[in-house]
C-alpha cells in the first residue's frame, strides 16, 4: 500500500540517531518555551530561523527540530496554566479553568499527567488524520467563504455565554471588553486607523500575548502582594506522583470528542488552536454528565481543551501544507521556517516533495512519542516549581514575560500596556469578572467583524448571503441551538430545584 511505503520512506528520513537527538533537544526546549508566559512560538522561531541559516542543517534536520519545538510548545503551554493559573500561550487558556483548581486541591501532578496524555491523544490522532486525509481535507477550506467564517465565529461567541456560571452580565461585559480592544488598530476594510488615539504603537492593535501576560501574570503579582499567597496553589502540599489511571480512563471519550472538535477547527484556516480548545471545552461542558462541575477542577475540563488544542495544532497543518495558509500563530511560524528552507507549501507539496511531507509526518509522530515519554518524568520537575518560594517565582515570571514581550517589538509601549492590563486583571478578579472571555474577544473579534464586512462587500449589502450555503445555515442553527436554547433549558431545569434549596 502507498501509505505504508510513504510512511516508511518518511521514517527512513526522520529516524536516525542524530535526528532523535535533535528531537529530544527540540521537545525539551519547546516545552520550556511553551510553558513560559510571554514566550511563544515567535520566540521559538527566533531560535530556529538563525539556526537554519547559520548551522546549515539540511531540510529534514530542521523539520525534525522545528516540529519538536512546535509540539513541545503546545505541550508546554499547559504547565503554567495548571500550576500558576497563567497560560503559557494562548491555546492553553482554557486549561486554566479546571487545571488550576485541580492544582489548588493538591492534584497538580494528576492534572499534568492527565493533560500530557490528552495532549498526546489529540496530537497523535490529528497527525494520523493529517496523514490519511490531508489532500482531501484541503478542499474543505475552499468551501469556507466570509459568510461561513462569520457564522463560525458567531457560534463561538454564542457559546461564550455558557462559560460563566456565576454572573452572565459580567461575562458578557468581559467579552465586549475583549471585542472592544480587538477593534483597536488598522481597519482592514478601509485602511484607516480606528481608536488608536493617534498612537503609532496601537496601529497593529493590541497583541494578545501582552493581554494574556498582563491579565494573568502581572495581576497575579498584585494579588500576591495583597494576600501573601493565601489563596494559591503555591506551597499546597502535593500528593505522591502517580498515574491517575481512573481519570484517564474516565476522560477517554472526552479526549476523543475534544480531538475531533479540535481537529476540525484546526483544518479551517483562520480558526486555529485557540478556537479548537475553546470549542472542545464548551462542547464537553455541554455533553458531559458532570458538565456543571466544570470550572471547579473537573479532570475532564483539563482533558478536553488539551486534546482539542493539540489536535487543532495537527489539523492546522492541513491548510498550512496544502494551501500555504497558516491557520494559527504557531503554524504561521512553521510556514516561515519552511519558506526559509525553500519548501513552498501548496497544493503540489504532497506530490512534488513527498520526502518532505512524509518526513514531517514521521517527525511529528516521533516528537509526540518523545514528548509523552519525556513529560511523565518531567512532571516531577515541574511540580517542584510550586515549592519555589513566591518571592522568587513571581518576580522571575514577571521578568521572563517582560523580556519575551520586549524582544518582539523592542518598545516600551507593550510593556506599559501589559502593566495596565495587570491592573485591569486585578480589579476583574476582585469584582468577579472572568478574564478568559476578554482574551477570546481579543483573539477572535477581528475575524468575526472582518468576515461579516467581507461578506457584505461581496454581496453588495445583501444580508441573505449570510445564509446562502448549507454550511452557514448549519452553523447558524448550531449557534442558536448552543446559545438561545440552553438559556431557556437552564431556566426550565433550574426552576424545579429552586424550592429545595
Amino acid at each position: 500500500m502507498d501509505l505504508v511505503a510513504n510512511l516508511s520512506q518518511g521514517f527512513a528520513v526522520a529516524l536516525t540517531w542524530s535526528t532523535l537527538l535533535l528531537a529530544v533537544s527540540g521537545c525539551f526546549a519547546g516545552t520550556i518555551i511553551g510553558s513560559l508566559p510571554g514566550l511563544g512560538p515567535s520566540n521559538g522561531v527566533a531560535i530556529l530561523i538563525p539556526l537554519a541559516f547559520s548551522l546549515g542543517l539540511d531540510a529534514t534536520e530542521v523539520l525534525v527540530l522545528m516540529t519538536s519545538v512546535y509540539y513541545g510548545a503546545m505541550y508546554g503551554g499547559r504547565i503554567s496554566s495548571i500550576l500558576l493559573n497563567i497560560p503559557g500561550d494562548e491555546p492553553a487558556l482554557m486549561t486554566t479553568l479546571d487545571g488550576y483548581p485541580m492544582a489548588k486541591q493538591g492534584r497538580a501532578s494528576d492534572a499534568l499527567v492527565l493533560s500530557g496524555v490528552s495532549s498526546f491523544v489529540g496530537a497523535f490522532l490529528a497527525t494520523i488524520g493529517l496523514m490519511l486525509l490531508a489532500p482531501l481535507l484541503a478542499r474543505v477550506a475552499y468551501l469556507f467563504g466570509p459568510a461561513e467564517y462569520f457564522a463560525l465565529y458567531l457560534l463561538a461567541f454564542c457559546t461564550l455565554g455558557g462559560l460563566a456560571s456565576r454572573n452572565q452580565i459580567k461575562a458578557a461585559l468581559a467579552s465586549a471588553a475583549g471585542l472592544g480592544i480587538a477593534m483597536i488598530g488598522l481597519d482592514n476594510q478601509t485602511g484607516l486607523p480606528r481608536l488608536t488615539f493617534g498612537e503609532l504603537a496601537l496601529m497593529d492593535g493590541v497583541d494578545f500575548l501582552v493581554a494574556i501576560v498582563g491579565l494573568f501574570a502581572v495581576s497575579e503579582i498584585f494579588i500576591f502582594i495583597e494576600s501573601h499567597g493565601k489563596d494559591t496553589a503555591i506551597g499546597v502540599k502535593l500528593e505522591k506522583i502517580t498515574i491517575p489511571v481512573k481519570d484517564i480512563v474516565n476522560s477517554g471519550l472526552t479526549m476523543l470528542r475534544g480531538t475531533l472538535i479540535g481537529f476540525v477547527a484546526g483544518i479551517l484556516p483562520g480558526a486555529g488552536a485557540s478556537l479548537g480548545s475553546f470549542l472542545a471545552y464548551m462542547g464537553e461542558k455541554t455533553l458531559a454528565k458532570d458538565g456543571d462541575t466544570f470550572g471547579t477542577g473537573n479532570p475532564k475540563g483539563v482533558a478536553a481543551p488539551e486534546a482539542g488544542n493539540n489536535a487543532a495544532a495537527g489539523g492546522a497543518l492541513v491548510p498550512m501544507l496544502t494551501l500555504g495558509v497558516p491557520g494559527s500563530g504557531t503554524t504561521a511560524v512553521l510556514l516561515a521556517v519552511l519558506l526559509t528552507l525553500n519548501i513552498t507549501p501548496g497544493p503540489l507539496l504532497f506530490e512534488e516533495r513527498p520526502e518532505v511531507v512524509w518526513g514531517l509526518i514521521a517527525s511529528l509522530l516521533i516528537a509526540n512519542i518523545v514528548l509523552l515519554v519525556m513529560n511523565v518524568p518531567m512532571v516531577r520537575l515541574f511540580v517542584k516549581v510550586l515549592s519555589v518560594p513566591p518571592y522568587v517565582l513571581l518576580p522571575g515570571i514577571a521578568m521572563i514575560a517582560f523580556g519575551g514581550i520586549y524582544s518582539l517589538s523592542g518598545s516600551s509601549h507593550d510593556l506599559i500596556l501589559m502593566v495596565i492590563f495587570g491592573l485591569v486583571g486585578y480589579f476583574c478578579r476582585k469584582l468577579g469578572v472572568p478574564t478568559v472571555p476578554i482574551i477570546l474577544g481579543i483573539l477572535l473579534g477581528n475575524n468575526m467583524e472582518d468576515n461579516l464586512r467581507r461578506a457584505m462587500i461581496i454581496s453588495d449589502g445583501d444580508w441573505t448571503y449570510l445564509f446562502s450555503s448549507g454550511i452557514s445555515i448549519g452553523l447558524w442553527a448550531a449557534a442558536i441551538g448552543g446559545f438561545v436554547a440552553p438559556l431557556f433549558l437552564r431556566n426550565l431545569l433550574k426552576k424545579p430545584k429552586a424550592p429545595s434549596q
Binding site: T190, F197, E226, P395, L431
Partner: protein, 141 residues
C-alpha cells in the same frame, strides 16, 4: 454592593467614552455596507447596557484590602513602569535587578532575600533569555 455600583458606573463612563470615540472613526470614501463604526457601536452599546445592569443587580461580596496594600500595589506598578521605560537605555540587567528586588520585597518583606533574589534573577535570566533563547536583549544598554 457598593463596589459593584462604582464598578458599574465606571463601565458606563468608559463605554460612553468608547462610543464617543467610535463616532470619530474616520470613514474613508470606500465605506463598505457594514462600515467601520457598526461593530464599535454595538460593542459600546452592549458594554453600556452591562454597566447599567451591574449597577442594578449587584452581587459581589469582595474583601477589599486596606489602604496600605494599595500603596504597595502602587509601588509595584511604578517599579514596572520604570522598568518599561529604562529597559532600552540601560539594558536588561540593572533595571530588572531593581524591579525584581522591589517586587520580591513587596511579596515577602525580607530585604536580604529580596536583594539576593533580584540579583540572581536578573543575571540568570539575562543569560537564559539572551543566550538560551536568543532574544537579543542588551545587557547594559
Amino acid at each position: 454592593m457598593k463596589a459593584d455600583r462604582i464598578f458599574g458606573l465606571g463601565v458606563i463612563v468608559i463605554a460612553t467614552f468608547y462610543l464617543y470615540h467610535a463616532t470619530l472613526i474616520p470613514m474613508g470614501f470606500l465605506s463598505d455596507p457594514v462600515g467601520s463604526r457598526t461593530f464599535p457601536y454595538i460593542i459600546g452599546g452592549v458594554s453600556l447596557l452591562c454597566g447599567i445592569l451591574i449597577c442594578i443587580f449587584t452581587d459581589t461580596i469582595t474583601n477589599w484590602p486596606e489602604l496600605k496594600v494599595y500603596g504597595k500595589i502602587g509601588i509595584a506598578i511604578l517599579a514596572m513602569y520604570l522598568f518599561a521605560i529604562t529597559l532600552r537605555p540601560y539594558g536588561f540587567i540593572v533595571p530588572s535587578a531593581i524591579v525584581a528586588v522591589i517586587l520580591s520585597y513587596l511579596i515577602s518583606p525580607n530585604i536580604k532575600k529580596a536583594v539576593i533574589t533580584g540579583l540572581s534573577l536578573s543575571i540568570g535570566l539575562f543569560l537564559i533569555l539572551n543566550y538560551g533563547l536568543g532574544l537579543g536583549l542588551y545587557a547594559f544598554g
